[in-house]
């Protein structure tokens, strides 16, 4: 085909005058922005590791970090879609609090009366009710924004106050505990982790999926005669992807159960207590699995479904989207409903982790969520953003916080640092975008 040879020739001509580094990035199609963020995170990690005298980069701390990130990371995936369409959601922390409180009352007080204590269906009934409630609240916000034309900033600012107040009224401010034992698995801990063997299986499945998707996309491009990545780049990407996944699994499997819990387990299962202590690995925590799964589903929604395409088109040019015949108002409603649902997932993770539903749950989470999305490259001007970037942003934010806790920095100072980092990160991003033009 004349077209393809022309392109190939054109690319070769262009790459001849490029440095090897540039050629490498062009061939692998790696997002340099995302790579920059990974680099920044590694610097933060190594910095804290050195400052804390070797406490940061341990299996235990990294495992905890992953669990602590899960809740905000889940909400950040939805916040990307909200911000991409030039909206904002300030109410996610309050929705988390309200839905968490309702789920707490449901499983600790209402369902035991109906189904009996510790009934196996308690967790799923609770979770489904929470998802439905979250979606309902989100849809309500969306309808007010899209059909009554009230700016999302105001609607969700109102939501922030309303749902926080409503949380108090559910139990008149009383904390609800404990949670259902199955429900609690969503919060992590020794019980809420899948163990070494299952973790390796998950890791291997992920590796197979990475390789399969690379092969599939190459086949598709070949079928239609589009330019393809050089074969070495495909191998390189597969290798790096698999190494990252398996490395993460190895770290999770390197973190053992605490001695007293392992001893209890050994006694209960009639295992003789060995000399050097029993090594039972945590493996990947369930909340982390949930967050990763949600990240994959949301990436799929954002890039492979018509809804996701509309979200980005709407963010890029609302008028064009409308003129193209997209039902833009309904797209907005669906985005906010989805956001509400993700708040419910985050509420489940956070109440399960705390083993209680409290009045203050999720306070300030809206700010961490927005910060995660923005640090992750979501532009407040609309139109651009990635789910993976936002999740990475959540990890960066959480790394900063845990690192400072590890160093014993007071919480007022922590906030000052987080605030300054947010502003600096967005400034750097602005500089990057201006240069990219």
């Amino acid at each position: 085909m004349a077209d393809t040879t022309h392109t190939a020739h054109f690319n070769r001509a262009r790459s001849a005058e490029e440095s090897p580094v540039k050629r490498f990035f062009r061939a692998t199609e790696i997002d340099t922005r995302l790579l920059g963020m990974v680099g920044a995170m590694l610097i933060i990690w190594i910095g804290f590791h050195l400052l804390s005298g070797g406490l940061f980069l341990t299996a235990r701390n990294l495992w905890n970090l992953s669990v602590q990130t899960a809740s905000v990371a889940v909400m950040a995936t939805g916040m990307v879609l909200v911000i991409v369409t030039r909206n904002i959601d300030l109410s996610v922390g309050s929705i988390l609090g309200f839905v968490g409180m309702i789920m707490g009352v449901l499983q600790a007080e209402l369902l035991p009366q109906l189904l009996g204590f510790n009934h196996p269906a308690t967790w799923i009934v609770t979770l489904l009710a929470g998802l439905l409630l979250g979606a309902g609240i989100g849809a309500l916000h969306g309808i007010i924004i899209a059909f009554l034309n009230v700016p999302s900033f105001i609607v969700t600012l109102g939501g922030l106050l309303v749902w926080r107040g409503a949380t108090w009224f559910v139990t008149s401010g009383r904390t609800v505990a404990p949670m259902d034992s199955t429900f609690r698995l969503m919060g992590g801990g020794t019980e809420g982790s899948i163990g070494a063997t299952a973790s390796w299986i998950v890791g291997l499945i992920a590796c197979v999926a990475i390789v399969a998707s690379i092969i599939h996309s190459r086949k598709q491009r070949k079928r239609f005669g589009f330019p393809r990545r050089p074969i070495w780049a495909e191998y390189f990407l597969s290798a790096v992807g698999c190494a990252l996944v398996l490395g993460a699994v190895a770290i999770a499997n390197y973190y053992p159960w605490p001695t007293n819990i392992a001893r209890k387990y050994a006694e209960a299962n009639g295992i003789a207590w060995p000399e050097g202590g029993l090594f039972i690995a945590h493996g990947i925590a369930i909340p982390v699995l949930i967050a990763i799964l949600i990240g994959i589903v949301m990436t799929f929604i954002a890039t492979r479904l018509r809804f996701g395409r509309y979200v980005f088109a709407l963010g890029g040019n609302p008028e064009a989207a409308e003129l193209a015949g997209i039902k833009t108002r309904w797209v907005t409603v669906r985005i906010f409903a989805l956001m509400g649902m993700l708040c419910a997932v985050a509420a489940a993770i956070s109440t399960a982790r705390l083993n209680a539903a409290t009045n203050a749950q999720g306070e300030l989470d809206e700010l961490y969520t927005i910060a995660a999305a923005v640090i992750g490259g979501t532009s407040l001007a609309g139109g651009t953003g990635t789910i993976a970037g936002a999740m990475l942003g959540a990890l960066v934010m959480q790394s900063l916080q845990s690192g400072m806790v590890l160093l014993g920095i007071d919480s007022p100072l922590q906030r000052i640092v987080v605030g300054m980092v947010l502003v600096t990160a967005v400034w750097l991003d602005t500089v990057y975008r201006a240069r990219a033009k």
């Binding site: 077209d3 022309h6 392109t7 054109f10 598709q220 491009r221 079928r223 239609f224 589009f226 799929f300 890039t303 492979r304 479904l305 018509r306 395409r309 980005f312 088109a313 709407l314 963010g315 890029g316 040019n317 008028e319 064009a320 989207a321 409308e322 003129l323 193209a324 015949g325 997209i326 139109g383 651009t384």
Partner: protein
């Protein structure tokens, strides 16, 4: 013209007002298959508003639209597309953060049997259509933002013809283009005409469209000054219609024609 034929589009006595201002007042225009009608007038004469009623972007207050002689119910852009009406807006109306293929199929994406976007098929079709319109176009992977004015224009035109439009509306199609690209668009219009597509060209600059059009309809202050076949009138006479509302002898006067003493 064979006036006995059924017009492809007939807009009868259309009115619309915004906050008490009659943007379009009792305007009637028509369009036959394979014909190019230029809709001329100053900025604010109401030509864009009139045509946005046809493309579904605005809802008319009064009047009726007939497509092939039958009353058409057009309330939004989706309805208009159902009647085969495609519009290329002055503002180009492309989502400039997504790539060319995504723009071509915006609102009508191709999907795989599993309901996911079939990006590869869309890109293949985009390469085919764009290859016909603008063979030098190669930047399929980049967001439309990165393209030149002419390239963006060809994306907008490709989107309109991709779905077998019968009626094409072009609002200031060459305003953003250089001379070479303008000539390209002219060629394209002739090609589409041969395929029997009816085209409305909207412009405030008579020189852009006079040679391409079969007929002109002139608007002033929201009213139709008159219609004329381009072979019957000179550019100066049409300018007189645009500026003064003065209707030459061989033109058909409309409600907005200057009252002769």
């Amino acid at each position: 013209m064979t006036e006995q034929r059924t017009p492809l589009v007939e807009m009868r006595n259309i009115s619309i007002s915004f906050g008490g201002i009659h943007a379009v007042d009792n305007a009637s225009v028509d369009l036959y298959p394979g014909e190019v009608v230029a809709l001329l007038g100053h900025n604010g004469a109401g030509k864009s508003t009139l045509i946005k009623i046809l493309s579904g972007a605005y809802k008319r207050d009064a009047g009726e639209i007939l497509i092939n002689g039958e009353a058409a119910d057009i309330n939004n852009p989706r309805d208009a597309k159902k009647y085969g009406i495609e519009t290329i807006y002055q503002t180009l109306a492309v989502a400039d953060n997504v790539d060319a293929a995504a723009n071509l199929y915006l609102g009508r994406e191709l999907r795989t049997p599993w309901g996911t976007l079939d990006d590869v098929a869309m890109e293949a079709k985009a390469r085919e259509v764009m290859g016909r319109l603008n063979p030098n176009f190669q930047r399929f992977k980049e967001p439309v933002k990165a393209l030149s004015g002419g390239q963006r224009q060809s994306v907008a035109i490709a989107r309109a013809i991709l779905f077998n439009a019968r009626i094409l509306i072009m609002d200031e199609p060459t305003a953003a283009l250089g001379p070479q690209e303008t000539a390209q668009v002219g060629e394209l219009i002739k090609q589409l005409k041969r395929e029997g597509i009816g085209i409305f060209l909207i412009s405030h600059d008579i020189h852009d469209v006079f040679d391409l059009a079969d007929r002109v309809s002139v608007m002033k202050n929201g009213q139709v000054v008159g219609h004329a076949r381009t072979e019957d009138v000179t550019k100066d006479e049409v300018l007189g219609m645009i500026i003064m509302g003065k209707v030459p002898a061989k033109a058909i006067p409309g409600p907005g024609a200057m009252q002769m003493a």
